[in-house]
């Protein structure tokens, strides 16, 4: 297992390098640069823009720019955001807690809902309840998040007034107090619900199908034959086997938690990494943009690795070496 993990980690290095080349090239291929937005004919003269382009190194040949960036990047210097003019790491750390909070809450919601709906559907397949759950799931899957977001805001914020429609915290609260954390939770709940509800479909259906499949297996028939109560069969014998494939999702969820939800964060004006990513593209903030993309790529690779390893851990039949 260790040997396998080590081999995979080594394999990630060239992969990350290739990704970095692609990320860099694509970023630079976008028309314009971070300065083309700063034109102001009356007070910014062309000379200033020239000077800044020179200072930021935009005039150097591309390979040279690439190696300068990747050199610093490897040493942990992600550069200075051209938009905020502060260190990229500082920009990210301002938003990371918000994103993690949103991601975790939404995933917990997804897990809980998917678990209950999945087990119910799996146990009573092709009944009215199962079809209802299936119908709701696919409805959720097919509603775009920006529609759901706006609708949720209209209903829960404007009409009912249960949740705030924007921001991550009420500015009037003092940091660190219970009130502060309650306010943050209050703010995160609505976007998290939107995100969480819309993504329950795949989990629910996976769980349902596994339960149905397992319930037809020989060991279930054996258990039934020897008189094990139905409840125990489902909750112990079947469920444990059915959860295995779901555990591998954990790896991918790691990325989902961090990468944020671009559209949902924007609609709810929730300052997280997703919103930051979108804005960085719009303003050609290369350092932030490339750091974020590298971060997401890295997490995807790690997520894959974790998924594979977990697979081996929960199911001894699968050998990794």
């Amino acid at each position: 297992m260790l040997k396998y993990a080590f081999r995979r980690i080594l394999g990630m290095i060239p992969m990350l390098f290739l990704i970095s080349i692609i990320v860099f090239t694509l970023a630079k291929l976008m028309p314009g640069d971070s300065l083309s937005g700063e034109i102001d004919p009356r007070n910014t003269n062309p000379q200033y823009i020239q000077e800044m382009r020179e200072k930021l190194g935009y005039n150097d040949p591309l390979p040279q720019q690439y190696f300068r960036w990747i050199g610093n990047f490897v040493q942990g210097d992600f550069g200075k955001s051209t938009r905020f003019k502060i260190e990229v790491s500082e920009v990210l750390s301002e938003r990371l807690p918000n994103t993690i909070m949103l991601g975790l809450t939404s995933i917990i919601i997804t897990y809980i809902l998917a678990f209950f709906m999945g087990t119910y559907s799996g146990r009573k397949p092709y009944t009215f309840g199962d079809n209802l759950i299936g119908g709701l799931n696919y409805l959720g899957l097919s509603i775009p998040s920006f529609v759901a977001g706006v609708f949720a805001i209209f209903l829960f914020s404007f009409t009912l007034g249960w949740f705030p429609s924007n921001g991550s915290v009420d500015i009037g609260t003092t940091e660190g107090t219970l009130e502060y954390w309650l306010s943050r939770f209050h703010h995160v709940l609505l976007p998290a619900l939107v995100l969480g509800l819309l993504s329950t479909a795949s989990y629910t259906q996976f769980l349902r199908n596994d339960i149905i499949e397992n319930s037809r297996k020989d060991f279930v028939r054996t258990a039934r034959a020897k008189g094990t109560p139905e409840r125990k069969i489902y909750n112990v014998h079947i469920l444990r086997n059915s959860v295995i494939p779901l555990i591998t999702f954990l790896g991918f969820d790691l990325v989902a938690i961090i990468s944020g939800a671009i559209i949902t964060e924007t609609i709810f004006t929730y300052p997280g990494l997703g919103q930051l990513f979108l804005q960085s593209v719009g303003t050609r903030d290369y350092p932030v943009l490339m750091t974020l993309t590298m971060l997401f790529s890295f997490l995807t690779l790690v997520g894959n690795l974790i998924a594979d390893i977990l697979y081996g851990v929960v199911d001894p039949r699968i050998r990794l070496d």
Binding site: R42, Y48, E94, T269
Partner: protein
Amino acid sequence: MKKKSMLMLAVLMLVLSAFLAACSGSDKAGTKKEDDNKGKSGETAGEPQDGGTLVYALDSAPEGKFNYAFYGTATDAEVIDFFDENLIDYDEHLKAQPHIASWKTEDNKVFDFEIKKGVKWQNGDELSVKDWEFALYTIADKEYEGPRFDNVRNILGAQAYHDKKADKIEGIKVIDDYHIQITFDKARVNNLDNLWTYPMNRTAFKGIAVKDMMSSEVVRTKPVGLGPFKVTKIVPGESIEMERFDEYFGGKPHIEKVVVKVIDPSLSVGELKNGTLDMTSFHPSIIDQVKALDNVNAITYPGVSYYYVGFRLGTWDGEKNVMNDQKYQNVKLREAMFYAINREEWVKAFFFGVGKPVNRPIPTNHWIAADNKDLEQFAYDPEKAKQLLDEAGYKDKNGDGFREDPNGKEFVVNFSHYATQNPTFEARAKALTQYWEAVGLKTKLTMTDVNLYYDMLEKADKSVEVFFGGWSTGSDPDPTPLWGSKALWNYPRWVNADSDKLLDQALDISIVGTDDQKRKDLYVQWQKLFMKELPVLPIAELEETMAVAKRVQGVTFDVSGMNRPNNWWIKQ
């Protein structure tokens, strides 16, 4: 500095799919003059009441560069306007007025400034001209990374200090805490308009190197200003809380607390309706929804931006414009294309009733703007357009319904418009092409990503022949940076000796002296020339739109923006 080009705006709005919210006036906000009733919010009945919290919304996240010397976007400027103050002020015709500072000058070269005594910073310091000197030195520093050096460059010796050839700026002379003399390198009419007049608190910035200032706490999270409200808390990228600054020099503000927060534009109508938002600027496309709310006033006030259709007449050789592209050189062709456009109808359809046709490359409310009766109006007249095209030799020779050029070759108008996520752009561009096709000019429309678009215009790319553009102007009326023959931003690459001469004369102190009327006359002549030559077809100007809850009183608007927030009050 403060006025952003339409490009900047378009980039900002890309995310929000809103297309314009010109920003220039608001930065130089601060006129206390009573205005014509157009921009008045609500009935200002009764005595101002103290107290209450005002919620003000921004449509995109601020970058957090909360200092006049460092900010980059109009959004940041909206926040700064609450807590900081300009030393001088601009009236409803964008003329400079004394505010904290007053000035005397004999020759427009040496200015003697005097500032009011007892003006307090929010950290308790008294304002001194040394704070202003400090700001000027900071901006002139080689390490300074903001874009404002142009506002300091013209001071005698500033360039030498910037290049580290001198350790003092020769033209800045502090006489005492309240008097300062600033000498420019030469007499110019617009020296004052271009001068940097925002002080920086010396004690707050003490010990911070110039290159670290932009990322320092004083700029990011704990700004110190002179304005009516002081910042108490900042949640980066999300909201700013401010409280009343009792010692504000313009009088104690009535409102107790201001919360500025970022709200996605798609939510602003709902928030306004619920009463959880008091003030916000909004996109003209939702004006009807805002007007329908009974607790909110939708206010429009004159803006300083205009839109035009330009022609590629030449190219940029790296230093100056060269007029060498023949395709649109015929003035009659350009005139015909102007007469072909029904601007009234077009503006009504795409600017939601908050714009109007404009007939000059200067917004109507600027003091140098020529009167409409002095200018050719180019009212919609397709027959005249056809006649002009016939005269110029653009006739349909092969019977396909479209005109050929005078040599009998196929003639296609290649029209470009920038593309953002705003869906109305393509429609409005398409509408223009239909006007031209209606008079027999075959037109091909290209929508180009906004970043690429302005890159191409800047490089005078051959493929951008007829193009849509817009500019936002500031308090300095001088059109040279946009239409001078050496201006990079003269996108049509229009070169005209008479135009250059008039523009130079209007700035020449030996010709116009300090007489504004003389200067205006020259600009009127220039506008007449411009409208005769038609290097671009001015299309429309847009008004600014702002929503103000009815409970908020005492807010007035003019072309320079809103009045100072210390005059506002909330009806309890």
